[in-house]
Amino acid sequence: MTTAAETLPARPRPSATSRAWAFVRRHALGAYALLALAYLMLPIVVVIVFSLNQPAGRFNYTWQQFTLDNWTNWDAVPGIRDAVILSLEIALLSTIVATVLGTLVALALVRHRFRARGTTNLLVFLPMATPEIVLGASLLTLFLQLRFATGFATIFIAHVMFIISYVVVTVKARLVGFDRHLEEAAMDLGANEWVTFYKVTLPLIAPAILSAALLGFAISIDDFVITYFNAGSETTFPLFVWGAARVAVPPQVNVVASAIFVIAITAMAINIIFQSRRGRQAKGIA
């Protein structure tokens, strides 16, 4: 409703510095985030880069030259192959057992009301909140007092013990948001509880169980402290690294670590992409 005569006063053009400052402020958070992520990635990059290094002597500290030898001969170092295989075996076995046990516990905690709920919650949470050194030391004490030989079995027992808590927490988080109506609908249609569980519930919580299993697997492969106390004369990969660190860490150790990292990240990334796609599909249907 302005006429030609009534022009609005021109807004003063912001100065270059204040524009720059506004730009910085807007993107400061993003820039910080990128810096923080770079900081997180730095050691990983170093590990991967040095896996491609051809060390001059025994020590892999300075960059000499690029080589793929370490990757092709990853088991050239005595003991590394057995250590990796043992770690994988333990991780697989303990993850499976812990995931089953943990999922059952999570189901109970979310679906049912019972008196000891608070205590159970606490019991499940405690191992996560106890320093690993206490967990490892106390288990060792148990085995010593019972004169039970430390070795594969004890490592397995220890790993299941501390993975259960993580599984419960992960699965519970997903179960809490679970829509019970689907189950009720299935039962209204004549399915009994087992069939409902098998055909409706399980497929829907499968992603959560899978996430929990992946998490458990990663924790098991990585565990050092608790395994250190309870391994006896067995050597898992982290224990092998500890031993190697006393002498000289061969590049093959970097290779195995990088490989585990790449595989784990890829698996998780696929899981995430898959889940988001499913999520979008589900929204599409609903």
């Binding site: 958070l29 993003g30 985030a33 923080a36 992520l37 997180l40 990635m41 990983i44 170093v46 040095f50 046990l101 059952l104 516990v105 109970a108 905690l109 679906r111 049912h112 608070g118 919650n121 606490l122 019991l123 499940v124 405690l126 191992p127 996560m128 909140a129 320093p131 206490v134 967990l135 030391a137 106390s138 288990l139 004490t141 148990l142 007092q145 299941v160 808590s165 419960v168 927490v169 519970k172 009994n192 509880e193 087992w194 990663a218 492969i221 990585d222 250190y228 982290p238 690294v241 500890w242 660190a245 860490v249 670590a257 585990i260 990292f261 990240i265 990334a269 995430i272 992409i273 988001s276």
Partner: protein
């Protein structure tokens, strides 16, 4: 089937039984044995016997008070550091991450997938005396010409911070992600500035995440020994180093058990205080 229907109360028990049994036998019972062992006396050569040796606890506290205090101090500083570093990062991902949220979160967790030891060894390499980082810091005179980063308190605390960052970041993310953006809009509609909206709305709503993250970071950090061993000197040794050495090198089980118990007890106390303040459901989700 009808048996279960009639005895509905059995259902949760059956579900819980195997998992809880495992935890009870391999988590609780060992703690009892730990207690038993902490009251023993004797040495490796002469054998151990149960003698209600309460003095073990007193010896543990007085003999290693330095390491105990140091452990809690380092863990505390590291926890604050992880909070400071991860909060803005996680905030950015939660509010500005968009479609890439989960993948970005994966990047935060990524270090987790490289063995803890190797991460710490990588830092040992990065911070080496003759390495690029120290060289650069010497050039710009932040460090003295013969200064170093390794074998210092700074390195140990930095190592702990780095290694436990995901434990702080993840719970923080969970609580920040759940904040409804509309609340923030509402606050701004009510003339709150961005800063005020953050302080009055976002921060309080993220409190459960901060609490959970703090616990998940502080407690394991207090018992850590690897960072001190690889990045520090005996002057930085934490209680974890002492316990480790007493168990596996000195074979002095009663003293080691007593120390573990003292550490555990101190942590339990703080945990119970927190649980009271926050409520177990909030704490354990």
């Amino acid at each position: 089937m009808t048996f279960i229907h009639r005895h509905r109360w059995l259902a949760p028990l059956l579900l819980l039984a195997p998992g809880l049994a495992w935890l009870a036998v391999f988590f609780l019972v060992p703690l009892v044995f730990l207690g038993y062992q902490s009251l023993e006396s004797g040495s490796f050569e002469t054998g151990y016997s149960f003698t209600w040796e309460f003095s073990n606890f007193w010896d543990a506290i007085t003999g290693y008070d330095e390491q105990l205090i140091r452990s809690f101090l380092y863990a505390g500083i590291a926890t604050v550091a992880t909070l400071a570093i991860s909060y803005p990062l996680v905030y950015w991902i939660a509010f500005h991450g968009g479609r890439w949220k989960n993948l970005l979160l994966l990047l935060i967790v990524a270090p987790f997938f490289v063995t803890y030891l190797i991460r710490t060894l990588a830092w040992q390499n990065i911070l080496a005396d003759e390495g690029p980082v120290v060289g650069f810091l010497r050039d710009i005179h932040v460090l003295e010409p013969d200064g170093r980063l390794l074998a210092t308190t700074l390195a140990v605390v930095a190592g702990i911070t780095y290694n436990f960052l995901p434990f702080m970041a993840l719970p923080l993310y969970v609580s920040l992600e759940q904040i409804d953006a509309r609340l923030l809009e509402a606050a701004q509609d009510l003339y709150a500035s961005k800063t005020k909206a953050f302080l009055r709305v976002t921060l309080p709503l993220s409190a459960p995440g901060i609490v959970a993250g703090t616990l998940l970071t502080f407690i394991p950090a207090a018992g850590d020994f690897i960072n001190a061993q690889l990045l520090g000197t005996p002057n930085q040794y934490m209680i974890g180093n002492v316990i480790q050495s007493k168990y596996l090198e000195l074979i002095d089980y009663p003293a080691a058990a007593a120390l573990s118990f003292v550490l555990m007890a101190l942590i339990m106390v703080s945990l119970l205080v927190y649980a009271r303040v926050v409520g177990t459901e909030r704490l354990t989700g």
